[in-house]
């Protein structure tokens, strides 16, 4: 087993691409070290990407935000500009783990861990976030929902590293929100979750919408039909009820130690309703 800390993306990609055996990327380590402890993974190479230039920064550009792959979630909460533009994404990121984990975990890691219950992913999917990927074949950018392909599986090729998560510049009258259900007040994995991202027109009518659900299928679900329910509405009671129904219907959940099929369906609808209400208010809707 080797531990390396490359200083450049090129070096990191080269080391990963050239490695034999199992290689693991280490940023926050809050998933990797747990899997190592449990004996689920015994990497031959650990590539610590935190020393790579620029990966530990949030940059605001004319197009929006670029969140480096090694930025701990706690730092997202400390960025006033990001919090103002994408409060739903930030609140989702801030829900991952404890204060202790917040200082380490990253949204990129959360995405690449490919858990159907990952907290930040529904919010990122709802936000239309993209992943900037660097690999032996160069750089490519894909929507974040293209990264996880199933529990614990991603579309990343050997040698590929996500360098940053990209969020668009915010259109006026936009708001997003994320809610999850956990049995305790902290420290749990989402039993079911919902992210909603809305933009309103001048009259407070929903112009565009994205609704994503977590922990109700093998990957996070982007529910197009739910977005259609919201578009053109002012989120009246009937719309919200329809939203809940559509979301409950879109779920393909399982029974497990965290919840039942019936519970997840029902609560997915409730959370979508509540998240939509918050997002609407954040967008300035009344």
């Amino acid at each position: 087993m080797r531990y390396i800390r490359p200083l450049s993306m090129e070096d990191a990609v080269g080391q990963l691409a050239g490695s034999s055996g199992t290689a693991a990327i280490l940023a926050g380590g809050s998933d990797l070290l747990v899997r190592m402890k449990g004996g689920f993974i015994e990497p031959d190479l650990i590539v610590d990407i935190k020393a790579i230039d620029g990966l530990s920064e949030i940059t605001e550009t004319g197009d929006g935000f670029s969140i480096g792959a090694a930025v701990p979630c706690a730092v997202l909460g400390e960025s006033a500009a990001l919090k103002k533009a994408w409060p739903g994404v930030v609140e989702a990121a801030k829900l991952i783990g404890s204060k202790q984990v917040q200082g380490r975990c990253t949204i990129t890691g959360n995405l690449c861990n490919a858990s159907p219950a990952a907290d930040s992913v529904p919010a990122l999917v709802a936000a239309g976030a993209r992943a900037s990927i660097v690999g032996p074949a160069g750089r490519r950018t894909i929507p974040v929902q293209g990264v996880p392909t199933g529990p614990g599986k991603t579309s990343l090729a050997k040698g590929e590293i996500i360098e940053a998560i990209l969020l668009d510049k915010r259109a006026p009258r936009s708001g997003d929100a994320y809610l999850r259900f956990i049995p305790r007040t902290e420290m749990d994995i989402a039993v079911v979750s919902a992210g909603v991202n809305l933009t309103l027109d001048e009259h407070g009518v929903v112009k565009s919408a994205r609704v994503a659900l977590g922990a109700v299928a093998a990957t996070v679900l982007l529910v197009e039909e739910a977005a259609q329910v919201l578009i053109g509405s002012r989120l009246d009671e009937a719309t919200l009820e329809r939203l809940a129904k559509v979301c409950a219907g879109a779920c393909r959940p399982i029974d497990d130690k965290r919840g039942t099929v019936e519970f997840r369906r029902k609560v997915a609808g409730v959370l979508a309703k509540r998240a939509a209400t918050t997002a609407y208010a954040r967008a300035g809707g009344k």
């Binding site: 449990g38 004996g39 259900f181 049995p183 305790r184 007040t185 902290e186 420290m187 749990d188 994995i189 039993v191 497990d256 130690k257 965290r258 919840g259 039942t260 019936e262 519970f263 029902k266 609560v267 409730v270």
Partner: protein
């Protein structure tokens, strides 16, 4: 025994104050040494291989590859431990649980162990051990296991306690029955009857410190064991017996203990560590992982309980009956028996009958968990009591007050009560501001009572007075939550000196006589009795020395407020001699001054508590929030009130976790699905409100200071109190613990469907 343990009604100087504990600074600076904080030169790392199967015959274990791995110093299986097949059945079970002999009986059951130079090598070695299993059908549910067709876990077990010896073996190991009167007749007199069935899931004590020990077996046949335990003397006896050695050759030192709550009253890996050390000829450190703690230490029982209670219109209970099925893991236990004894202990009943069934299941061996078995029985009974009160149209507190047991009542488990605290706790609750506080939307209030026996038992202490007048107190009951402070207060009180001059330590097994474990809420009760006795013995010597110093008759010397005082007119000019003044001269007046005590602390007074809680339920998700919580409990006499409050609060918090979220979840494959703190959800700081406490002091007549045990009772009422609150908030009776959000939401939805 000259010692008079009767309550004397004295006025206290030290007892009842709240000084800082003697082990405090070490614990806030990280210097205190717990089970895993001790190391020895040349120490090896021990690791245990565990069965992934719920029930399997062990056909063959091949350890040869592991033994050949460089760095492996010892590999053991059950073959390296004594065969107790034809010996003491109870000890056979203890050993079989430490290392499976013929069958793996649960997911996590130990089958082999290694000692190696480091953790990595030990882990690799475990992978090289080949175990051939023959899989057997398993059963993990208590009700399923009790059925006739269930897979048999031990075909040599025939139900005990039946009138006729059964012809077929069964997973039901024992039937026990308690009660008096005629319940059939009693129900005939009832105007209202509530009859319900309840279930509770298995929970774990959840101590934050995993089991840890360092074993050092010497080639001369002696051994040392450093271990986190609630009872090092008991561990010594068990380990010595299981390894075939004399108890006095094994010295056990109890480390600081990072929580036990009953879970550290049984040996788990310690005999294995000793056996590894013996085989390797080097010290072995064995620390369980959290996963191992959940899978292979001792959680509490899962239960299934039927309750029937009847009452007249005026609110008098006429009959009460319960059938209680408790899982005990794969080995016989007495858990349902305790449940059956405690179930109706709070009430004055003319007609009562409880029947308990112990049920084997393919889960880890059940161990004690804080007032073991009582919380589940209380959940069922107190839920039914609440429902009955509602049916009659009486306030739940008034209904309980009307039926509460009192001095002279025949308890449901048999004996007649002396002075007890159930009535006073209920009266205190009735007048508590919490009961009158307004409730918000979707909020409900619940209350419930609880009972626990409390134990005494074998106890031994040494009290040594140094030549500077300071006092060392050596006790043999492990300090799990501040008892060294309490016992120092007691020594100071009895001697009449300041708390600061007493230092209490927990002595190892070679330095003090045998002590029972710190269990059954006995630590402070028993050791304070022994400390008082030891102090009185020391005072006798102090008086003799003072008499010598004054050259008068010892009968003329009395002990008052930390001083020897000469009584009688002819000694009028002698003044007083302080403990320190006598101690300084002790070298010349006969040598060291000490008081010793060995006794059986009998007469532990029973304990009662009543809890109130407010819960908010989200009707759309089943989420719960604990809004307010109040504990009222009788302490007899609170020696160190802050630590008494701590026991009340801690027990309540554990009960809240049990009531709402904690449970062992098994898959169809018989494997534990949630062996970690992520999905075994104990309450976190943000889950709880402040937990208010009210200490009542109804003196125990059988203790010089009136002390009763306080540690356990606080976990008994919460399950029921919360169930009553949730039921009031959600408008539907909850009968399955934990009341996790999916269960609450399902109950609410079912109620909505039903009322359509």
């Amino acid at each position: 025994m000259n010692f008079d343990p009767r309550f004397s009604g004295r006025k206290f100087t030290s007892v009842g104050t709240r000084p800082i504990r003697p082990d405090g600074v070490d614990k806030v600076t990280g210097r205190a040494r717990y089970g895993a904080d001790f190391n020895m030169a040349g120490q090896l790392v021990g690791r245990i291989l565990r069965s992934p199967h719920a029930h399997a015959r062990i056909i063959k274990i091949d350890t040869s590859k592991a033994e050949k791995l460089a760095g492996v110093k010892a590999v053991i299986t059950a073959a390296d431990l004594p065969d107790l097949t034809n010996g003491d059945a109870a000890m056979y079970d203890v050993l079989d649980n430490c290392m499976a002999r013929t069958k793996a009986l649960y997911d996590g059951h130990a089958v082999a162990a290694v000692a190696a130079i480091d953790a990595r090598t030990a882990r690799q070695a475990l992978k090289l051990i080949e175990v051939e299993y023959e899989l057997l059908p398993h059963v993990t549910d208590v009700d399923e296991a009790a059925k006739h067709k269930a897979p048999l876990i031990n075909d040599a077990i025939f139900t005990e306690g039946l009138e006729e010896k059964p012809v077929k073996p069964s997973n039901v190991t024992k039937r026990s029955q308690f009660g008096h009167g005629d319940v059939h007749q009693g129900f005939g007199q009832a105007d209202f009857i509530v009859e319900r069935s309840f279930k509770t899931e298995q929970t774990h004590q959840g101590y934050i410190e995993p089991h840890a020990c360092v074993a050092n077996f010497s080639s001369d046949g002696t051994a040392d064991l450093w271990v986190c335990t609630q009872g090092h003397f008991v561990y010594r006896q068990h380990c010595a017996q299981l390894l075939g050695m004399e108890a006095s050759k094994l010295r056990v030192t109890s480390s600081e203990i990072g929580g036990g709550f009953g879970g550290k009253t049984h040996v788990w890996a310690e005999p294995v560590a000793l056996a590894l050390s013996r085989k390797a000829g080097r010290p072995v450190k064995l620390v369980m992982t959290r996963d191992e703690v959940f899978r292979a230490s001792g959680p509490t029982s899962a239960t299934s309980i039927d309750v029937k209670i009847g009452a007249r219109k005026d609110g008098t209970i006429t009959a009460a009956e319960a059938t209680l099925r408790y899982s005990c893991g794969p080995y016989a236990g007495s858990w349902a028996e305790i449940g059956a004894m405690t179930a109706f202990a709070c009430y004055k009943l003319d007609n009562v009958k409880t029947v308990g069934y112990e049920v084997l299941v393919n889960r880890p061996k059940t161990a004690a968990y804080r007032a073991p078995s009582a919380p589940m029985a209380a959940f069922a009974v107190e839920s039914a009591v609440d429902e009955l009160a509602k049916m009659i149209g009486m306030d739940p507190v008034d209904f309980r007050i009307k039926n509460a047991a009192q001095e002279g009542t025949r308890s449901s488990y048999g004996p007649v009560y002396g002075p007890i605290g159930i009535g006073p706790t209920l009266e205190a609750v009735k007048s508590h501001p919490h009961m009158k506080a307004p409730l918000g939307e979707n909020q409900g209030r619940g209350m419930a009572c609880g009972f626990w026996f409390n134990f005494g038992g074998q106890t031994c202490t040494d009290l040594n007075i140094g030549m500077d007048g300071s006092v060392s107190l050596a006790v043999g009951t492990v300090d799990v939550g501040g008892s060294r402070a309490s016992l120092s207060l007691v020594a100071a009180e009895e001697l009449g000196i300041a708390y600061e001059h007493v230092k209490a330590v927990v002595a190892d097994t070679s330095s003090l006589g045998y002590n029972d474990m710190t269990d059954g809420s006995r630590g402070t009760f028993s050791s304070s009795m022994a400390t008082i006795s030891a102090a009185r013995n020391a005072i006798k010597i102090l008086r003799e020395r003072a008499a010598q110093m004054w050259d008068i008759a010892v009968d003329d010397v009395v002990w008052e407020m930390g001083h020897a005082v000469a009584k009688g007119e002819k000694h009028g000019n002698l003044g007083k001699l302080s403990l320190k003044e006598i101690a300084v001269e002790s070298g010349k007046t006969g040598g060291p001054i000490a008081g010793h005590s060995e006794l059986v602390a009998d007469g532990a007074g029973v304990s009662f508590a009543t809890h109130i809680c407010d819960i908010e339920v989200d009707p759309e998700t089943g989420a719960t929030r604990v809004i307010r919580y109040t504990v009222v409990q009788d302490a007899g006499k609170a020696v160190h009130p802050t630590y008494v409050e701590g026991q009340y609060q801690g027990g309540a918090a554990q009960g809240i976790g049990w009531a709402l979220n904690e449970e062992y979840i098994y898959g169809k494959d018989g494997r534990l699905q949630n062996p970690g703190f992520l999905d075994y959800r104990i309450p976190v700081c943000s889950d709880l409100p402040m937990i208010d406490t009210q200490i009542l002091e109804i003196p125990n007549p059988n203790h010089p200071y009136g002390v009763r045990g306080v540690g356990e009772t606080s976990i008994v009422p919460p399950l029921a109190a919360i169930a009553n609150a949730v039921s009031n908030a959600a408008g539907v009776r909850m009968t399955h613990i934990p009341m996790s959000p999916p269960r609450i939401l399902a109950a609410i939805e079912a109620e909505r469907e039903w009322s359509k």
